[in-house]
């Protein structure tokens, strides 16, 4: 007796869709509270402005809009989607998952749907799983979403972080392909450094101290050790990028674009230098007007670079996500075709 399984196939990114919140927030609106300057923020991070979601723009509504755009560009409907993987750290309910709320909103409550928590590496974790699910035959069409409302978890009075984190959503449809168009994922953790990026206290602290409120206990805003994260991102992640290229059998000068998580322009530029990425490869810098949107940053940056450079459709890109955990994932992908 044996178990029957499908033959391994190939996968590709069919389309990308995004949602950027309406409210644009330049550095000038942030600096007074933290006694800083536009010049310092730009020099330190590359960020000139970012988008903050309003009360009417939730994790679900932003994800929904990004998915609808991705579906429309792939010429599919939600009925064609059998699996939804949603990556976020800012959905404010324990259960049911954001993914299940999303599929209800989108109109296909029967799809397999789950959330993953992998911070700024979340989108690449989602692409890894989406690709493998399609290749193995478990899924036919997968929606992979990265969505964050980090402004809910950012302290506007913290000089170290107030200007960094922002909101938005990006989604890709991953489907079948005649040949491999998503490379092997190189992923892992450096969890011995998990103190480098934290959100505390735990929600249980509020239950255990009913007479104390957020004012006294604090709110789980994002806190990070800038130099530790910079060093890890630049020197360890550049090695991950090179491994992802090697496993895909792609040399760095064959890339059309380098689309890393948009954590900080200094990280991106130094990583590119470490990897010896040539000038012929375009480097995504969506962070300048979008800030750091964690799991959403790579699909947002992908959409932006394709909009500004449409010749990149169908070309190869290196994606690397890296963030709280510390966790990372990178893969070479073929960028989706022109819609």
């Amino acid at each position: 007796m044996s178990i029957k399984v499908a033959q391994v196939g190939n996968s590709r990114i069919l389309s990308v869709g995004t949602y950027r919140p309406k409210r644009d927030v330049p550095n000038s609106e942030i600096v007074d509270r933290i006694d800083s300057t536009d010049e310092w923020i730009v020099q330190r991070t590359g960020i000139e402005s970012r988008r903050f979601a309003g009360d009417d723009e939730t994790v679900i509504s932003m994800a929904k809009a990004a998915c609808e755009m991705a579906l429309q560009r792939a010429k599919l409907t939600i009925a064609d989607i059998d699996t939804v993987i949603l990556s976020t750290i800012s959905y404010p309910f324990q259960a049911p998952s954001a993914a299940t709320e999303l599929i209800n909103e989108l109109g296909n409550p029967k799809a397999a749907a789950f959330d993953i928590s992998a911070a700024c590496a979340g989108f690449c974790y989602g692409v890894a799983m989406g690709s493998d699910l399609v290749r193995s035959g478990t899924s036919k069409n997968v929606l992979v979403i990265g969505v964050e409302k980090l402004s809910d978890y950012t302290d506007p009075d913290d000089r170290a972080t107030a200007f960094i984190f922002a909101d938005g959503a990006g989604a890709v449809v991953i489907g079948q392909s005649d040949q491999p168009r998503i490379g092997q994922t190189i992923w892992g953790s450096d969890a011995d450094s998990r103190d480098a990026i934290t959100l505390t206290p735990s929600f249980l602290d509020y239950k255990k101290n009913p007479d104390k409120g957020v004012g006294e206990l604090g709110w789980p805003n994002i806190s990070q050790q800038g130099q530790v994260v910079f060093r890890w991102a630049v020197y360890s992640m550049s090695k991950v990028g090179l491994k992802a290229l090697e496993s895909a059998g792609v040399s760095v000068d064959e890339l059309g674009a380098f689309i890393p998580h948009q954590a900080n322009i200094r990280i991106i530029e130094t990583m590119a230098k470490e990897m010896k990425i040539p000038d012929s490869v375009l480097i995504a810098d969506d962070i300048r007007t979008n800030g750091n949107t964690s799991a959403a940053s790579i699909p947002l940056a992908m959409d932006r670079i394709l909009e500004e450079h449409p010749e990149l459709h169908g070309k190869l890109a290196l994606l690397i996500g890296y963030g709280a955990g510390l966790v990372y994932a990178g893969q070479v992908v073929e960028l989706p075709p022109k819609p």
Binding site: R44, G226, Q227, V228, F230, R231, V234, Y235, R266, T270
Partner: protein
Amino acid sequence: MNPIDTEEDIKTMALAQADVLAGLKEIVEEVAGIPAASVELDKNFTDDLDVDSLSMVEVVVAAEERFGVKIPDESVTDLVTVGDAVNFIVNASK
């Protein structure tokens, strides 16, 4: 640990310090574009040389490679002046 008490030991240490300073000058120039001549022992990285905390990480990693030493994350904030960095590297290389 033996105290340094011979003239030869003192000369070796002094040489090492000069080598490290020379190496650091080149590294800071390459990382931050600061002219090597400005990189003197008493200079404060951030205030005098405009090497911010992120560029400092690049300097530290380059120094590790160049001098074959380890400079852990928790030590980086102690390296306020060029002299602090030189002394750390000289001590770490023993």
